[in-house]
Each structure stands twice: as C-alpha cells, then as structure tokens.
Symmetry: C2
Subunit: 154 residues, 2 copies
C-alpha cells in the first residue's frame, strides 16, 4: 500500500504546485485508511508555518481527539524540515515515509534526528528517493527563478 499512499501525497504536492505553493504533500494513514491528506498552504493561509506536515498533524489530532498518533504513519513528499520532524516526534507517529531528502532543512539530513537515542520516541522511517517529488520541486523553483528574472528585466 506504501506506493498508493505516497501517490496520494504526490497528488497533494501537485495541487500545491498548481496553486503556486512550494509543492509538498502529506498523507496520514491510520489502520490502512487515509485519515488526512493535505499540502503546503503557506501562501493560501498567509502563515509561514503552514507546512503540509503541521497542518496534517493538527487535523489528524483533531479528528482522533488525541494528540498521540501512535497507530499512524505519515507520508510526505519531501523530507520533513527540523520543525516538522519535531512535530512528528511530539505526535508519536509509528512510521515516517518520505519522498526525497532535503539537505538544507531536513531533520534527518542535518541532525540525524531519526536515529537520536536521546529523543524519547522512536519511529521507523523510509526515504523512497522519489524522482517525481524531486523533479516537481526542481521545476517549481526553476519556474520561480524565471519569473523573477523576467520581473527584474522589465
């Protein structure tokens, strides 16, 4: 099922792309059922912290009326940043599956957070090395730079 849940997260990332948001999608799965699917909404919500993962976690906690998501897995198209990785630990997820590494902001890439014995929760994780997610991000930022170049040359 991993592939189809991840495909849903990718679909969410594409929605974000089409809405001029950094294309990141997240899906939370509980008992093999999709509980939440959403995407980055920083522009739409005019909220610098409205990352896909935080929105998904808040919605899932609300829906289950429990801050502990111990039976849940979270699928994200991009490696969670330090902030979102912290939120994933706080919510006590069972498993994290992400598409492509984030060497600039990723909690695992920068600090090996997922294998830190001092944190009082541990979860399984998989990086799928998704070329589709990576290409979506590359294309988004390329398009942004081109728009900026055009603007500057006018």
């Amino acid at each position: 099922m991993t592939d189809s849940f991840f495909d849903l997260a990718l679909q969410e990332a594409k929605y974000a792309y089409d809405r001029d948001e950094v294309p990141v999608g997240a899906v939370i799965v509980c008992n093999e059922q999709v509980l939440v699917k959403t995407h980055n909404r920083k522009q739409a919500q005019k909220d610098g912290l409205a990352h896909a993962e935080l929105l998904a976690i808040q919605e899932a906690q609300n829906s289950l009326n429990d801050w502990r998501l111990t039976e849940c897995d979270i699928y994200v198209t991009l490696e969670p940043c330090v902030m979102c990785m912290g939120a994933i630990f706080h919510a006590r997820f069972r498993r994290l599956i992400y598409g492509t590494p984030d060497y600039k902001w990723g909690g695992e890439s920068l600090f090996n957070m997922l294998s830190e014995p001092k944190l009082n929760h541990h979860l399984d994780f998989t990086c799928l090395e998704s070329s589709e997610s990576a290409q979506l991000l590359t294309s988004f930022f390329k398009q942004k730079r081109q728009k900026q170049k055009k603007k500057n040359s006018c």
Copy 2:
C-alpha cells in the same frame, strides 16, 4: 530591557500554570516594543502543537503581515523544543533569549542547532539560567504526579 521582557514571559508562564497548562510563556519584541505575549495552550486549544512559541510566531507574522521577523527578538521561559527552534529559524529572528535549558527536547541542548553552520540563518542567543522558570516547571510536574498518585490510590 531584557529583564522586563523576560518577566513578561514569566508572567505568561504563570498564567499557563494557573490554567493547568505546562508553564511556558513567550514574548516577541520588535523595536523595543512588545508585539506578542502568549503561553502554551495545548489543553485550551486541544492542539498538541499549540506551544507558546508557535502561537507567538503565527500571531507576530499575522500582525506584521510578513513571515520574516528579522527585526524581532523572542523571549521564552524554557529552551525551545526541536519543533519550535525550527520555527524560530524559519521566521528569521534576530535573537533568542530563553530562561532554562530543556535537556529532553531542547533544540540547542540536543543538537546544538543554534551553532549549526549548515542552517541558512543564524541568530544570537542567551540562556538566562532562570531559577524562577525552572522552579515553575518543577512545581507543575510535581503537582501533576501527586494528582496522578491520588487518582491511582482511590
């Protein structure tokens, strides 16, 4: 002015204590003026991510209509956890002043995040080693354990 801004954060932590919330307060200061003061509201908002810092940052970004808080300082009674430290980096704060270290969850205590050269923002920081903030937290958790003990013995 550091002391009086920190005192305001402590006052917020006390409000949290009185409302049965983990006593953490946060104040955001911009041009020597208090822009936001708030406290942890996890219970009140039934939101596991409603930490004082995230709430304060969202309110400040909203108030300034800008996700960049480059001219702002944030005062927090407890060292920000990994999640909140990530949010502090995202918001591009100028300075972080915190009361007491958090060896279990603190972004600096666990990962030296504040001196990590790979993160694309850097900010000044001070730990005030506030005994008042530390005592407030100790007293809160002691009281919680006593209540739990009483409950279990009934």
